[in-house]
Each structure stands twice: as structure tokens, then as C-alpha cells.
Symmetry: C2
Subunit: 483 residues, 2 copies
């Protein structure tokens, strides 16, 4: 491949050897992201240390039409930062500076490799925080949060990442430097900043991101309630919303998820319950004081078996630990699992959960449910044993049914994980051909050659099916074979 060697030579002139990885042993670390069922070896990895490294690398790729993908901590659950087999990975972890933090203007300007929780940590002394709180906050990066418009347990109250990004300086896939938005909350013209959020790396790479900071709540009131049916928990969520309380978070876990979390971290969830509801009020002391009376009244009438109120920060942390570790805890129940994050209209939550149970039964797989109930964002964890032939396909078929159920109900195929590599085939369930064509045309406004994260999001991307695309890690290890 002459073209690629030319590109490589140009990159070699740009970067020292230790920051231009081409050795297969080094490349292996970049083969997969959080969606480990996929693995693709890139041609090279550029470890960027400065914005100029990113810009020059993209310009070199653009000159030769070589695809590239940005990668932060590689936590994408939709395969969003999976490499392209003919392309380059641009690793952004070292671009992790907080360039500015202005407590009066309540903004922070950060580089894309900055860790999500590092922003809140820096804002903490000023009584401020960065609101989006994905479960992976301790490792995931702001660049990834922007690319996938990340949410988190508290997005019921605060909205998604797009609601907290005021401006973006980026290099587009054709090598131009663009500045979208500014530190004002009022934008001029079409909201290109908002457009960039959720663009899944298809437009280019953000170099500087201006984030909105919000005051940290003065206090929290975290309540945990268990139920003998999922419906009761779901109905309670509807009651809470209808009462006009606006909790910071409203989470439900089902029996399997409870058992897993309990076994893993001992959060004190009552075993045997069919559902656990976590409600967290937050705000000023007087507001929380007032709202908690209303909440108590609602919960008393909700038919809960156990109601527990966190008495202090430690108890609050314990309740959340169970919820936040649910994903990894499910690993105790099953060697492998697939997470979906479809959304259903809130009022259909109960129906959706019953249907998921039916789908699981039909596919003979176990599904644990953990979800952001307040905004109808499901997280079914579909368990399978990758060592058993056909089990992955069975799990995938089940996941596909659940995704299709969400769109049939008028919801969305993804609440916060993104389409990425994983859900490309489902995009036409949500959007018409005209809609998708329009997205493509908008994308080509940023990336005429379609080199930035090529093959993702769109249904006609290359290598559409899992089995054609890459080997499962267990296949590569020789444990399973599907060929």
C-alpha cells in the first residue's frame, strides 16, 4: 500500500517514534473499546501531545484520504472509538489540561483528553461542578462525552452534555480550524456547538471545549425503596414526576441487577425484592427540606416494602455504589453481557419492562435491568456465555428485539451510549431515508471524504455485521470459534 507508506513517512517526520505506534504489540491495546465484542487493529496510533499534533495528523490523513478515529479512554459502549482497519487512531489522553477555570463566569475550558471527574474536582473549591455524570466518570474523557453527548444518572435534572457545552474549537476532517459557540449561553445562528455534540467523531476532533459549570447542590437527600413488583416502582416514578418534584436522579434496578450489585459491593439492597428505586433530591437546604416531606408522602403510599433514607454521606455513597457498579457486578452472574441503552416514553416504562422479560424468555437469555427511570432510559444487561457456540448471536438477537421495541414505542435506539458501530443497523428504524441522507450531507459539510470515524453510525457503513467485522476476544484467544 503505497499510499499508507507515504502517510506513515509524513507522520514519522512529525512525531518521535514513541508517539507513533506501529508495532502490533503496541497496537493491540487500541483494538477494542468498551464494546469488547468488536476488535480491529489499526494501521498506526498517534499519541498526540499538543493540539498541533492533532491538526497536522488530520491534515496528513486528509491529504491521502486515510481514515482516522479519535480515542480518549476507550470507554465507548457502542464501539464508537473502534479503529478502522485501514486507518489511524489519534490518542488524546495526553491532551488533558484544564486551560481555564473562571468561577465567576462559571466556565471551564478544557482539552478533550481531560477526565470527566477531573473537571468537577477542579471546580469543587469554587462550589461548582460539571453536571454530566456518566458511570464511567472516573476514567472517561470530555472529548468522548462531547462526541456521544453523554448523560448519566443526573441528566433527568441537568440534561445531557450538549446542555453543558458552550463552545468548541475543533479541527474538521478537512483540516480547517473552526470555533463554534462561545462562552455566552446565547448563540448566534444555527447551533453548531450542539450539532457537534453527539456527532460521534464524524466531523473532526475537538481541541478545546468550553464547559458550563453549575453550582454544587448544598445538600442531598437520597432515598431507597424496594418493591415486590417492577410495576409498583415504575408507577412511583410516574407519581413523583406528576407531583412536580424534580429529583436529581430517579433510578430503578430489577431483581437480577440487585442480586448482582449486592454480591459485588454489599450496598445493603434487600435481596428478594423485585425492584429497587433510588430517588435523590438535591438543591438548597430549604428546598430539599420541603421536597423531602412531599417525597415521603408519595413513597408511603407507593406500596414499598422497605424505605431507607441515607443518614449521611457514607450511606448515600453506599446506595450509589450499588447502582454505579451494577454493570461490572453483572459480570459475576455471567461471563459476558451486552448493554443496550434504548429509551421509551416514560409512561410506557411498565409495559417496556414486561416486554423485555418476554423477549428474554423467548430468547432463553437472562436480562438484568438498571435504568434511568426518570427519563425512560433503559439499560438492559443481556447476559451470555461467549464460550458457548451461538450464545453471542442469541444475546444479540435479544438485544436487537429490545432496541426495536423501543423504536416501536416511539422512543430512541440510544439514550447516551450512541450509535457507534453497534447500532448502525437500527438507525433506519428511527429515521427515514431522507433524514439519513440529510445527516450524511451535513456530515460531508465537515468531512467531504468521510475519513473521520469512517464506517460508524450510518447503516451503510462498511462491514455491517459483527461476525464479518472482527473477532470476538474469546475467538482471538482461541476459546471459541464461529467459523
Amino acid at each position: 500500500m503505497k499510499t499508507f507508506n507515504d502517510t506513515l513517512s509524513r507522520l514519522q517526520r512529525l512525531l518521535p517514534k514513541e508517539r507513533l505506534l506501529i508495532d502490533p504489540a503496541h497496537l493491540a491495546a487500541y483494538e477494542s473499546d468498551g464494546l469488547t465484542a468488536f476488535a480491529v487493529t489499526p494501521r498506526a496510533v498517534v499519541v498526540a501531545e499538543t493540539p498541533q499534533d492533532v491538526i497536522e495528523t488530520i491534515r496528513i490523513c486528509s491529504d491521502s484520504g486515510i481514515p482516522f478515529v479519535a480515542r480518549g479512554s476507550g470507554t465507548s459502549l457502542s464501539g464508537g472509538s473502534l479503529p478502522h482497519a485501514d486507518g489511524i487512531v489519534i490518542a488524546l489522553n495526553r491532551l488533558n489540561k484544564i486551560l481555564e477555570l473562571d468561577p465567576q463566569a462559571r466556565i471551564a475550558v478544557v482539552q478533550p483528553g481531560t477526565i470527566n471527574l477531573a473537571v468537577s474536582a477542579a471546580a469543587h473549591p469554587h462550589g461548582l461542578q460539571f453536571a454530566p455524570d456518566p458511570s464511567s466518570g472516573q476514567v472517561c474523557t470530555i472529548g468522548g462525552n462531547v462526541a456521544f453527548n453523554a448523560g448519566g444518572a443526573h441528566c433527568l435534572k441537568y440534561g445531557m452534555t450538549a446542555n453543558h457545552v458552550l463552545g468548541i474549537k475543533a479541527v474538521t476532517a478537512d483540516g480547517n480550524i473552526i470555533e463554534l459557540g462561545n462562552s455566552s449561553t446565547e448563540s448566534t445562528g444555527p447551533d453548531l456547538t450542539g450539532l457537534f455534540c453527539g456527532s460521534e467523531g464524524l466531523f473532526g476532533i475537538a481541541l478545546e471545549i468550553t464547559l458550563r459549570l453549575v453550582p454544587r447542590p448544598e445538600c442531598f437527600h437520597t432515598v431507597f425503596a424496594s418493591y415486590d413488583s417492577l410495576e409498583k416502582a415504575g408507577d412511583t416514578v410516574s407519581e413523583i414526576i406528576a407531583s412536580r418534584l424534580l429529583p436529581g436522579a430517579l433510578e430503578i434496578m430489577d431483581k437480577l441487577a440487585i442480586e448482582a450489585a449486592e454480591a459485588a459491593v454489599g450496598a445493603g439492597y434487600p435481596l428478594g425484592s423485585e425492584a429497587v428505586l433510588i430517588v435523590e433530591l438535591e438543591g438548597t437546604r430549604s428546598q430539599v427540606e420541603h421536597d423531602k416531606q412531599r417525597l415521603a408522602g408519595l413513597l408511603e403510599k407507593s406500596g414499598a416494602d422497605v424505605i431507607r433514607i441515607a443518614g449521611d454521606d457514607e450511606e448515600r455513597a453506599k446506595i450509589w455504589k450499588g447502582r454505579k457498579s451494577a454493570f461490572s457486578a453483572v459480570g459475576r452472574l455471567s461471563p459476558d453481557f451486552i448493554v443496550q441503552d434504548g429509551v421509551v416514553p416514560r409512561r410506557l416504562l411498565g409495559k417496556a419492562l414486561r416486554e423485555i422479560q418476554d423477549i428474554a424468555k423467548r430468547h432463553k437469555v437472562r436480562v438484568a435491568n438498571v435504568f434511568h427511570a426518570g427519563d425512560g432510559n433503559l439499560h438492559p444487561l443481556i447476559m451470555y456465555d461467549g464460550r458457548i457456540e451461538g450464545a453471542l448471536e442469541q444475546g444479540e438477537a435479544c438485544a436487537a428485539q429490545i432496541v426495536r421495541m423501543c423504536t416501536t414505542m416511539g422512543g430512541s435506539i440510544t439514550g447516551e451510549h450512541g450509535v457507534g458501530m453497534e447500532k448502525r443497523a437500527f438507525l433506519p428504524d428511527m429515521y427515514s431515508k431522507d433524514d439519513i441522507d440529510l445527516m450524511q450531507r451535513v456530515r460531508r459539510g465537515f468531512d467531504p471524504q468521510e475519513i473521520s470515524n469512517r464506517g460508524k453510525m450510518f447503516p451503510d457503513g462498511e462491514a455491517p455485521s459483527l461476525s464479518l467485522y472482527g473477532l470476538h476476544p474469546l475467538e482471538k484467544a482461541g476459546v471459541i470459534s464461529r467459523q
Copy 2:
């Protein structure tokens, strides 16, 4: 013009005579919008009655490359719905149905010609409201709110229109029907709904808009304070924000604006004050109860001359009446005025106001200031007497200096009125050539022929200067002549 006659014949087959206006006497009503200094006669006006009328009209325009512009109530202050001299106006006022209102899901689906306040009126019995509240809410339409991403006095707390639009069904300028977003608050892929908001009619025409409704506040606490200097009022705003109070609205009016409002509606503002500050707390009863103590403490120390608290709804309405009628009230002080709506970083408010006074002095014009202080959104009302030769140009030069001051301070050329026809020349002050090229490319993704609201927003639009473009209404009336 063969082309246009062909187009007209096709439109005649589509529409009854009374809904296809071509008579100059009928067209006159569509020559100007809220920016009355501009006036352009369109070739024809289509009065749409159904979405299909809009779709077919756009397809006919697209076939022949004839430009069109959507018009609701024609309240744009930036000339956003000004006709194109070779084009068609598509009037949307009759598309004013509220198609769906779901109190549980807290959404309303409306047609683009629905009046802003009609949405809140329909939501009222369910304890809900549509939050964006432009001063023109009694007449302006949701379609226009979307096109210009309208704000209002309460956008400090609630954000702009884009924050309250969940989905848009639209016809693009090339005649395709697209559906962006959905009723979920969590979107998939790049935020095209958000992109459409603020696109100033350059992408096509929205046919159905899904709005988010929010609970109406249980109660309000409206306080009015007067000061002997603008700085004191500005500093008080900074203190309030720093204290972590989040008022629904934080407005300042200066001496001239106070005098005008007082003369017009007798709101009870103390004459002779240099500045009036309006602070409105809102929320649940207990929250407002708590916050008002804090606010009282701050205001006591703020050096206010008079502090007045609205004791009931009537007193609240009176305070707001003065503010909301300030624009028209200024008409009492001057036969003509230009309104700008630039934004400056909040911490530079004091500096900006001093500078505006200097600019006004240098240009020998009077400027009244009314502004959304909480978010730094200025509304200088630049007064001139259009009957005096050169006065309009003098006013415009003054307005231009104020806009440039905003961008120099790191702000924005427009907070909520949009770029439209008026501020096209200033776009390059905010955006680089690469940024503007990108916007053009994105626009062409929706409108390859650039027929939808042609000539607006971009600096290289046709007919760049006011005097070249159209006649001032007073010129047309023969009162003034600039030629």
C-alpha cells in the same frame, strides 16, 4: 421573466386566488417585518392553510430555483422574514393548530403559526407552561421562535427556545420531509433539532414542532429596586448570581428607558433614578420563601434608593408592564429607533454600559438601555428621527459601534433577535472564514440552491447595505428622501 410566470402558473393550479396574493395592494402588507427600516416587495404571497400547501409550494420553488421566505406574524427585529424581491413569501399564520398536548409526557405538538402565548394558555389548566417568553409573546409564532432561537426575560433560568424543542418535522428547501429528534429528551446522533433552531429559515420550513412543557412556578416574588447609578445595579446582578440564587428574571432599565416606560404605562418606577433592577424569584412556595430572605439581605446592602416588593399579582403585572412595554414606550421619546441585542460577558456589564454612553455621545444620539442583565444580553434602543437627513445613518453607525463593542468584549452580536438582514455584516466579527464556510456547507446540506430565506445571515448575501436595499417606510411615504 418566463421562469417566474411558469412558477406562478403552477402555484395557481395549487391554490385558490384568495390564497395566492399577487396584487401590489395585498403584497404591501408583507413588505416589512419588525425591522421597519427595510421594505421589499415579494413577487407573490402564498397563504398556506395546510402543511401540504407548504410542501407543494416549496417543491415548486425548488424546481425553478425561486427563493422563498416563511413568515409568521412578522415580528422579527432583525429583518429575518423580509421578502426577497424575486421570491415568494409563505405565510404560516393559518397553520396554528395545537395538534397534541400530553400533560403527562409534558409535551405539546404544534404547527408553526401557533402563537407563543397560546401554547402556555393551552397548557395552563394542566399546571404547565412553554417557558420561552419573548416580549412579543402575544403575537409572535412558534415557527419564528424556532427559526431565531428566541429567548425572553426568563431565559436566564430556562434557556432559549432550542432548550424547549424536542422534535421538528420539516420540509427542507429541496422538498424533502425530515423528522428531527423525537419526544424523548435524549437524542440520537448529532443534534439536528438543535441545529434547526436558530437556522433563521435557511434550511426549510418546520411543519410540526414538538415542544417541552415545564411546570408553572407555584409562586413568584417580584422585587423592584432603583439606584443612583447603573454600576450599582450591575454590581447587584453580579452579587445575586454569585450568591447562587437563580432568579427567573434579572432585568435592568436605565434612566431614559424608565422615563419612557413611566410616561407610557405608569408602572410606578421612581423618576430620576439612574437604573431600575427587576428581580423575580419563582418556584415552589418553600423555595421562594427561603430565597427571598437571601435576596432581601443582598438588596439591603446594594445601595438601592427604593426597594419595592410586589404584594400581589396586580403589582407584579404592573412592574412587568413597564419592562415589557419599554420598546414601544421609547416611541414616545423618539419617532424612530433601532434595537440591538448584543451580548457581553456578565462581568463586563458595567464597562459595556459606560462604553455605550460614550458611543452615544460621540454619535450625538440618545440611547435607552433595557437589558436581560442576568445573561449579559443588552437591548440598547438607539433613537433617531428618520425625518432628519442623515439621522438614520447616524443611528446605524452608533448601533454598529455597539455591536462591535460586544464582539470585542468576547460576547455575541445577537442574543435572541438573530442575524437576519440586519447584522449580516457583523458575522465575520464573530466567526472566521472557515467557520462561515462550514455554516454555508451545512446550509447547503438542507438547501443546495440556497433558496430558503436567500440573502440572510451570511455576510456575502445580496444587497448588503440598508440604503441600497430598500426604502425606509418614511421615504416611501414621501416624508424623507435619502436619494
